[in-house]
Amino acid sequence: NAGVTQTPKFRVLKTGQSMTLLCAQDMNHEYMYWYRQDPGMGLRLIHYSVGEGTTAKGEVPDGYNVSRLKKQNFLLGLESAAPSQTSVYFCASSSQTDPLEDQPQHFGDGTRLSIL
């Protein structure tokens, strides 16, 4: 029972390099989210998607892009990595929001990214 799988688990980049983080979920969830976690700041929403082919900006979208070409996958891209993007990145998914029965988010185990 995989749930939410993030790849890679660790990565070190040099400033200016690009990379893509992959999130895959096998629960047929409509909603998917990308967060970054920094000490003392909790989780901050980068981008999210409410369905295949749709994306929206979260709280801290600058420097990141996302794509949701398939329902089960949500990709996070860094076009030109900066040291300020050193963080732990979490992907999450949830079933479609029902006003009467809100389903919790299921999280992956994170990607630890260091930008030198």
């Binding site: 003392g40 909790g42 929403l45 809100d102 919790p104 988010q105």
Partner: protein, 117 residues
């Protein structure tokens, strides 16, 4: 704008004693409230939620939380703490007001709980 505050960075409690982790929130519409727990090098795990109904909600691992609308609080509680409860705890809120808000869940900064043997 919606926000979540967890006023304590760190909570220390002796094993067997009751524990409380505090959370207050600010939303424009009705709040949907959640507690998550994070163990080292893992993602967040859902503990419990408040949508509507009874103000006291029960969740996983013996945890419960009390919703207080007048104080805009949703404190996490457990009658008897275990060493294994030591972890990072996050309060979160979904604002069921404007459509632009309720697609997103906002997380608090987290509270580190240490249960001392």
């Amino acid at each position: 704008a919606q926000s979540v505050a967890q006023p304590e960075d760190q909570v220390n409690v002796a094993e067997g004693n009751p524990l409380t982790v505090k959370c207050t929130y600010s939303v424009s519409g009705n709040p949907y409230l959640f507690w998550y727990v994070q163990y080292p090098n893992r993602g967040l795990q859902f503990l419990l939620k408040y949508i509507t109904g009874d103000n006291l909600v029960k969740g996983s691992y013996g945890f419960e939380a009390e919703f207080n609308k007048s104080q805009t609080s949703f404190h996490l509680k457990k009658p008897s703490a275990l060493v294994s409860d030591s972890a990072l705890y996050f309060c979160a809120v979904r604002d069921m007001g404007p459509k632009t808000s309720y697609d997103k869940v906002i997380f608090g900064p987290g509270t580190s709980l240490s249960v001392i043997p």
